[in-house]
């Protein structure tokens, strides 16, 4: 090995604590890039492959009942490549050993051939035989969650008939990567299942012989989705069409899409911050090393080493840091990716998600880290190369201190000499001080941003689950039932309180703008399900008017007092002009609310409802579930307490994980910045500090200079960090808000103080570690070394 390379290794060994501190920051960037980009890639590729192989639909259409004779016309629509009619229905399931009822989504299995579109991927067993009335195939997660095997049986209430069903196969479907029941908030594999049943049996059960109520469509490559949707809606109109929609509104796909977008956003935004901080640290440390090694550089040049060799020597030193950072980053990233894969496996049902991060993502993240480090080291390395050999042999001129306004001010304040030293060096290198503060600011911001998300989510959950929805359960009916049914519900065991509510699928129009959604109708003064605004106040739809969420109003360009055209897609499918009487700010959903009695009046009908909200006596739950399975036309049951609990468990788990991750990140950044800063200070000030000691200053007083400057920088960094954190929070609110969601910008004072506490403590610890070197400072040798 060449002597110069030995110097390289020994220098690195001497610097390893500093190097590792930087490498850890760098590794955060690498790991996050690896995880988010790798996961993004894996998810995107897998989804594309899955959709292609299993012919995922492009457009869907639900109707009340359309005759099969309509099919040729639908097939002939311009841009339609293939269609698949189905009969779909909902059923309350009775599963042995499970006291609560489950809900099943019934899908018809075509009689003559395998499905053309949304082809389920068989996981075990086989497809149900066309003539069987009892055999079904279910989605694999449902089977696993309930411990079903091939041959297991369960009962279903099919349109009022209790039937025994036997599982002959399990499958996964591209339509249900994210499997969530209608009206549900979270996937619940145990309580919600997809059930493929032979067409003939389904049609018989739901009175759909010769008809269908659901259509999947695949469009040709050059077709316009909007035009196809319009054509479908026109043709389906007479048959109770409920509005065709594309993938953007397909529940499963829109969830996967938003996850993918989030990963991509994360890959674009977060790692560069770490890379930038690492580059700054590298440049600071390398700058100091080159300054310290001036005479060695001069010597190497005098001996005959070329500028390039010297430049490379210092770049290589930085390269070591990069290598360590990349290695840690790859390790941590691989581990994180695995953790994330587990997370995804919980939420998404992919048949073959390749959770392996592609090799080239490793290459990219490594390259990014290397380039960043090199950029950080470039200035110092070039300075080393440019150093004139003769000048390098002379001691550097002492830095020029000029008297400035600040000095005058300091003199006025009669500060002690150590304090003056701290302040002077703070202002002497304003660029370095600013960058250090910015680096520490990012550490603060990382904690602020993470805590903000938690608070925001908590607030959303509180408003949605505790203030707006206070019912213990929601009973969903297949279609509108007379409100008198509520008397039956009240007679059920354990039901304490029952309130009717109605969901009416409708299209809201204002000129060319339109939105299809479900209008929620309730009575004024209902207690269990209420509309709560972001301000925490209860809003009520006035009779004769609509209450709209602000998001919906702005998408339709409507204000209070404007008229909105509402085309109701159920019942008599009437269109009414209604006045907007109120707006309410909400975190999610495109809410449109009306008064139940007013709507009944408009429709000239006796009171109807589609949902009953109930409160329950916990002691009678089992008796209740036993009876529910027998109520006709009950299509679903949402146990709000279960939902709340699982939502909160998930959030709590995420909160712990996220807080830990971001606090670790903040500590890494702080240590990286503060430790290196203090080491450089110590090296620059060694003589000065030794002089102070020789002059009789105590160890404590001298430590004060060193620790004081670090803490001064850390303190100045706090407001910067708070601002950065608030800015990031604001950006997250912006990035998060979509057609469906928005996030409240809640910044509680305690998240700022917590962030500051974490960073100040880490900074103090870093400075104290460096301070220990002060004790070992050999006063004589420091004064003797030439610099």
């Amino acid at each position: 090995m060449q002597a110069l390379d030995k110097k390289l290794f020994r220098d690195f060994r001497r610097l390893w604590v500093q190097a590792v501190a930087i490498a850890l920051v760098l590794s955060c960037g690498v790991a996050l890039l690896l995880t988010s980009f790798g996961m993004y890639q894996a998810l995107d590729d897998t989804r594309a492959a899955y959709y292609e192989r299993n012919r995922f639909g492009d457009v869907w259409l639900d109707t009340r009942r359309a005759p099969e004779t309509l099919l040729p016309e639908l097939r002939a629509i311009d841009g339609v490549y293939a269609i698949e009619p189905r009969v779909v229905g909902a059923a309350i399931l009775d599963i042995e050993g499970r006291s609560e009822s489950a809900v099943g989504q019934i899908l018809s299995w075509p009689e003559d051939d395998d499905p053309l579109l949304n082809v389920p991927l068989l996981r075990s067993g086989g497809y149900p035989a066309p003539t069987s009335t009892r055999d079904v195939m279910v989605n694999e997660p449902f089977a696993e969650a309930n411990g079903f095997e091939i041959g297991s049986v369960f009962h279903a209430n099919l349109n009022g008939q209790r039937r025994e069903l036997r599982i002959v196969g399990t499958a996964l479907s591209p339509e249900y990567i994210y499997t969530i029941s209608p009206g549900g908030m979270m996937p619940d594999n145990e309580g919600f299942g997809i059930i493929w049943m032979p067409e003939r049996a389904v049609a018989a059960a739901f009175d759909m012989e010769g008809a269908f109520n659901n259509l999947s469509v695949r469009i040709t490559q050059d077709a316009s989705e909007d035009e196809v949707i319009d054509a479908l809606d026109r043709l389906a109109e007479p048959y109770g069409g409920l509005g065709a929609y594309g993938r953007a509104q397909q529940i499963s796909d829109s969830f996967v899409t938003s996850e993918i977008a989030q990963l991509r956003g994360m890959a674009m935004v977060v790692p560069p911050i770490f890379f930038a901080i690492a580059a700054f640290l590298v440049s600071m440390v390398m700058g100091r090393i080159v300054a310290l090694e001036r005479s060695e550089i001069g010597l190497l040049k005098a001996i005959g080493y070329s500028d390039l060799e010297i430049c490379l020597h210092y770049l290589l030193l930085a390269g070591f840091i990069a290598v360590v950072g990349i290695a840690i980053g790859w390790g941590a990233g691989t581990w994180l990716a695995r953790g994330m894969a587990v997370q995804y496996a919980e939420f998404f049902d992919f048949p073959y998600l390749l959770f392996r991060v592609p090799g080239w993502v490793y290459a990219i993240s490594g390259l990014a880290a290397l380039v960043t480090t090199m950029l950080g080291a470039a200035r110092a390395a070039l300075a080393a190369a440019r150093l004139a050999p003769a000048i390098a042999m002379q001691p550097p001129a002492p830095p020029r201190f000029k008297r400035s306004m600040i000095d005058v001010a300091m003199a006025r304040l009669r500060l002690s000499q150590p304090t003056v030293m701290i302040l002077r060096s703070f202002f002497r290198w304003p660029g370095r001080s600013a960058m250090t503060c910015l680096g520490l600011g990012f550490a603060v911001a990382s904690v602020v941003a993470a805590s903000f998300v938690n608070d925001a989510l908590e607030n959303i959950v509180d408003v949605a689950f505790y203030q707006s929805n206070r019912q213990d359960a929601m009973l969903l009916f297949t279609e509108n039932v007379p409100e008198t049914t509520i008397a039956e519900v009240r007679r059920l065991p354990g039901v304490l309180q029952a309130e009717p509510q109605q969901y009416l699928p409708a299209i809201l129009r204002n000129g060319p703008l339109e939105k299809s959604l479900a209008v929620e109708a309730r009575r004024p003064g209902t207690d269990l399900s209420r509309v709560i605004g972001a301000d925490g106040e209860v809003s009520t739809a006035e009779p004769g008017g609509m209450l709209l969420s602000e998001r919906l109003a702005s998408q339709l360009d409507l204000g209070i007092g404007d008229m909105v055209e509402v085309e109701f897609l159920s019942g008599r499918r009437e269109t009414h002009e209604m006045v907007v009487t109120g707006l309410v700010e909400q975190y999610f959903g495109l809410g449109a609310y009306a008064d139940l009695d007013y709507l009944n009046q408009v429709f000239r009908q006796s009171p109807q409802m589609s949902v009953v909200n109930v409160t329950l006596d916990d002691n009678e739950l089992e008796a209740l579930h036993a009876r529910l399975k027998d109520i006709p036309r009950l299509s679903g049951l949402i146990m709000m307490n279960d939902t709340r609990r699982s939502f909160q468990d998930t959030i709590r788990e995420n909160v712990v994980v996220m807080n830990t991750v971001y606090i670790v990140i903040a500590v890494l950044i702080t240590v990286g910045v503060a430790y290196n800063g203090a080491r450089i200070q110590l090296s620059e000030r060694a003589r000065e500090l030794a002089s102070l000691r020789i002059l009789g200053f105590s160890r404590g007083e001298v430590s004060y200079v060193l620790v004081g400057e670090t803490m001064l920088l850390a303190l100045v960094a706090q407001p910067i960090g708070w601002l950065l954190g608030a800015g990031i929070a604001q950006a997250m609110v912006g990035a998060f808000s979509s057609d469906i969601y928005s996030m409240p910008l809640i910044l509680k004072p305690d998240i700022f103080s917590r962030a500051s506490l974490v960073v100040l403590a880490a900074a103090l610890a870093s400075a104290l570690i460096v301070r220990r070197r002060l004790d070992n400072l050999n006063l004589v040798s420091v004064m003797k070394t030439r610099e």
Partner: protein
């Protein structure tokens, strides 16, 4: 007449520090001969180091010309000068300039790694009387020993010229004498043209020739009829 190794023709070196122009060299014409040991004497700030740096290809002249044998150094660019240093010159500095993270042997290897025809590092250290301290780090050696490592490093490439800038400047007289002994031995044994800068007048007595500097100019050159050995020098 011995062969001329270095020749300078009316060289000047001006440092422009903004407010004032400093004439570090104000017209210096000089020849150094093969095999001679020349001492450059003069007060601090008289331009000795500047001249030595220019001869060694570490610095550029402001005006005038410099030759190393037939090679005109004033024509060379940085790359050419680097090559020239690598192939022909050995330097010894006042503050030794050892790399602290390398042992004595490895410090010498820094040179032998890049020189065209070096001697083994151990042999060079043997020559300066440090054969027993090959694997010591600079921090484990005295100033005189460190300077001898620096000399070993300078001679390990078998240079034609050895340029020493105040090699004893940081040493006490006893260790300083040891260092001068080594320089004399090298000069005697290998005939290496050696230029030694000093502001210590006592040292001039060991030289073949003494060149006196004053205010960036050569004041006086004289040849020593009788030289004395370093151990006879006292200061």
């Amino acid at each position: 007449m011995a062969e001329v190794i270095f020749r300078t023709e009316d060289i000047t070196k001006v440092y422009d520090t903004g407010e004032v122009k400093v004439y570090a060299l104000a017209g210096v014409s000089l020849e150094l001969y093969a095999g001679e040991l020349a001492v450059l004497l003069g007060p601090s700030g008289s331009g000795k180091s500047t001249l030595l740096n220019i001869l060694g290809g570490l610095d550029h002249v402001t005006d005038g010309r410099v030759w190393f044998r037939d090679l005109e150094l004033t024509d060379l660019n940085d790359r050419g000068l680097t090559r020239f240093r690598r192939d022909h010159v050995g330097f010894v500095f006042q503050f030794y300039n050892l790399v602290p993270s390398l042992t004595a042997r490895e410090n010498v290897q820094l040179v032998t790694d890049v020189a065209p025809d070096p001697m083994p590092a151990a042999e060079a250290l043997e020559l300066v009387g440090l054969g027993h301290r090959l694997d010591h780090f600079p921090s484990e050696m005295s100033g005189g020993e460190q300077q001898r490592v620096a000399i070993a490093r300078a001679i390990a490439k078998r240079p034609e010229v050895l340029l020493c800038d105040e090699p004893t400047g940081a040493l006490d007289s006893k260790t300083g004498v040891q260092v001068l002994e080594v320089l004399k031995t090298i000069n005697d044994q290998f005939g290496t043209t050696t230029a030694v800068i000093t502001h210590n007048a006592a040292i001039q007595q060991m030289a073949h020739r003494v060149i006196q500097f004053q205010d960036g100019k050569i004041n006086e050159v004289h040849v020593n009829e009788t030289r004395i050995a370093p151990h006879e020098i006292v200061w």
